[in-house]
Subunit: 283 residues, 4 copies
Amino acid sequence: MILPPIPTPFDGKGRLDTGAFQELALALEPLVDGLLIYGSNGEGVHLTPEERRLGLQALKPRKPFLVGLMEETLPQAERALEEAREAGAFALLATPPRYYHASLGEGLLRYYEALAERMPLFLYHVPQNTRVDLPLSAVAALGQHPKILGIKDSSGEMLRLAFYQARLKDFRVFTGHAPTFLAALALGAEGGILAAANLAPRAYKALLTHFQQGRLAEAQALQRRLYPLGDLLSRGGVPLLKQALRHLGLPAGYPRPPYPQESPFFGELLPVLDSLKEEGWIL
Amino acid sequence: MILPPIPTPFDGKGRLDTGAFQELALALEPLVDGLLIYGSNGEGVHLTPEERRLGLQALKPRKPFLVGLMEETLPQAERALEEAREAGAFALLATPPRYYHASLGEGLLRYYEALAERMPLFLYHVPQNTRVDLPLSAVAALGQHPKILGIKDSSGEMLRLAFYQARLKDFRVFTGHAPTFLAALALGAEGGILAAANLAPRAYKALLTHFQQGRLAEAQALQRRLYPLGDLLSRGGVPLLKQALRHLGLPAGYPRPPYPQESPFFGELLPVLDSLKEEGWIL
Amino acid sequence: MILPPIPTPFDGKGRLDTGAFQELALALEPLVDGLLIYGSNGEGVHLTPEERRLGLQALKPRKPFLVGLMEETLPQAERALEEAREAGAFALLATPPRYYHASLGEGLLRYYEALAERMPLFLYHVPQNTRVDLPLSAVAALGQHPKILGIKDSSGEMLRLAFYQARLKDFRVFTGHAPTFLAALALGAEGGILAAANLAPRAYKALLTHFQQGRLAEAQALQRRLYPLGDLLSRGGVPLLKQALRHLGLPAGYPRPPYPQESPFFGELLPVLDSLKEEGWIL
Amino acid sequence: MILPPIPTPFDGKGRLDTGAFQELALALEPLVDGLLIYGSNGEGVHLTPEERRLGLQALKPRKPFLVGLMEETLPQAERALEEAREAGAFALLATPPRYYHASLGEGLLRYYEALAERMPLFLYHVPQNTRVDLPLSAVAALGQHPKILGIKDSSGEMLRLAFYQARLKDFRVFTGHAPTFLAALALGAEGGILAAANLAPRAYKALLTHFQQGRLAEAQALQRRLYPLGDLLSRGGVPLLKQALRHLGLPAGYPRPPYPQESPFFGELLPVLDSLKEEGWIL
């Protein structure tokens, strides 16, 4: 399964653009297995609670979708969870509380258990953004919970994936780290939730299929081919992803201020995009 | 100047308790030079925008106060800034945007400049919580802005304070790191905004006065004396501070769930509190 | 190709035991494709120059072997390089200078170039021990040198292996990180130089063969099976490896003082060893 | 007490220059309270055991001196310790074993205890170079040993110095971090062992004297004045220190290859040196 974390479009003045959001979803959905909304590249943390609701209501995805939840406490998470459920998300994708992480202690387990009582969820480990750890012992403990379905791990740390593969049963793993995608598959990931899949959805699906059907050489060739795309997007983040989508004519809008509208990595990305496009891999 | 970052009380179910907030402020204000609201230990990031407004309206401090602002984007910061201004804060204390920090680039400067156009502010460097850097070069550039008054630096990294002292003119520095308080003063800090000053306000004021009046031996003795308090609070964070205040009979309430109501450091803190109390230093 | 980094035996008083060294090599060599001497687990940095020479002379391996070189400057490296060449090593395995790494600058490239003028070498990236980085840009530059054959990368960071795979031609990659072995193979590593291969040499060879012959399910099953062994050894280091070998009756001796003779991880390792032994995988 | 860590001169081809070493010591000794030989900036780790002996024999300092010891195991430390004792050092300055630090465990305490049985010593915490931690709990335990006199702490982490000041009795503390010198004094350090004291010995002695005699404003003014020198040297390391000394006509020689003969920071250092020289602070 390949899911793109769909970007949330803002206009040039930083206002949420629900029309563009809808349009972007319509363009992406046919090419992928579902969506992640308000996820790693979805700027969920850049929305007020009210905007968050408006965006979700506008979207109405037709394929299965996850909703990202990056709140700090349970009372704050309440509303976002309820809206995700009403909108029909099949699960939450929830980061740990982070601002006071050092004094969270057992609260980490309590947080996920309280959410999971209300709705199925995936753990979300994305230390590049949250800058906190989700210890393997906590993942192992939470993995026992019937409503905690698995994890999206964007760290790119394969030691973690080796642990999930060797130690956890019936635990679904998605990688969020495109440059090491094939390594994650070898260590048991079932798919990817990848920013790069907003741009080259069919390429990542092809890589996954090659791997699943034992065509290792083809999978390795495509991994090599896609490495620059995944690597650049993991360094350029939201500004680069949105700029690339705009360049391709998609209504991805701009990052919210003060984030820059243009990325210093775009010059490096252009030839990568162009050559992948020539081979038919872009959108 | 010694300011405590006043905690924001929640009741046992995690609801904001504005009455307790008011009461707590009344108890602390007479002992200090002012307050920091929604700061390092004020759980500003644990409030919805609406709660944030309610708390601030309830408080009505009589001494000068700062308001913490830990938002991710300018549109989100708008409302908090406006409310701080209306409430009469003399300045904001603003952390950098953090979730997508790696792609922020020049947006860091743009963020602070846009805020400072509207209201005087202090930069807020608290990497223990934000987990992002505020580079010295950015501090130096922003320090030129007439409405950027200075910085609260909670990192405890004295190399940064040595830089401010040697390189910046008319730049006000407060430390937020109690265990190294006297070192910060030696390197030019004018005071402290210290969680520990919620518990031992007069002791920190005395230390500051000893230093200012050249009584170095007395300052060193008090620094040694207060080290365990500052060190434990910097490790125990909000749960420990609130538990200590409750223990002393103050209406500090509880951390917001899933943060634990009791701290693993409290056992270690008790004898420290008791012996400081015997000497008359607690509240 | 699977190579174990053979441990260097010291007796209970910390004296180099060349007889045991010889015996240990004789026991291991038939089971593997060659040896790494004075490598990651070989305590090369624990020998005086004179001891280093004595050990190497005693060993006389019959299979191809690499010699580790962890010196700080070129004049110091001179003697070790000469002895490795005389002993018949097919290449050096050289870490970067580390004590003053921050001021090394272009000296990093100069170091490897000067060594490579004299003898073929592999770069050695083992940040767990050296605690310095070997930047990808430096690897790419050095990879052009005809006598720099490749790299042993023990970091376990798959992003690095993805880079080697996508960007470098004719560059041989060995992983030194057993817990992620299969991921490294998927990203183009040709084999492993693994502490765990001192204990389960045939198991790692079998995993490699499964992978090379497209038996992915078998490779994944063995990867899962071997994960605990690799993971524990990467945490327990030399004391654990030597204790495990002694437990199996091999003359691995003890770590040099003040390193402990027994590892806190041995209790956890025992059942892992036992169950792998039952399946016929140990030595 | 102000001690410079005297650099060890190598000629343009990387050979130890004992004549220059002697000459350099003669030039520095009259200006300082003693010397640190083979310390942080002394490239002790760049010498073979034989060279180490030759250098030490050539030096014959007349003032009290410390000898740095950066070995990995006790058997390796044996010879260096013996030679330091014979040469008349008043104490060793010893870093922890580092290459296999993660599996050192209690060996850390055993190492220092075994050395201290033979000769008085100071602990040496210089994580910029060793890249290992010397935990505060270990310092506290070792501080009880009658032959372990104190610590040189070059980390610049004032939290450590606050701990020493508050928790350890009769424990002598020297800072090795020039840019925060005054902060260290405020937290109880008795002096400095500073690379910058090779260049501006009298300035650091003056700063120390101002502080000791309660002239805080003068101490702060000199701290501000010396900050750029200390900061640049801490970033430029040995290549910069030697280049600066050569520029001043002192026979400091060159760093050992592959370390660069010239520092990228020298351009920035020149005006700092010049203006301090005008004020009479350089040598």
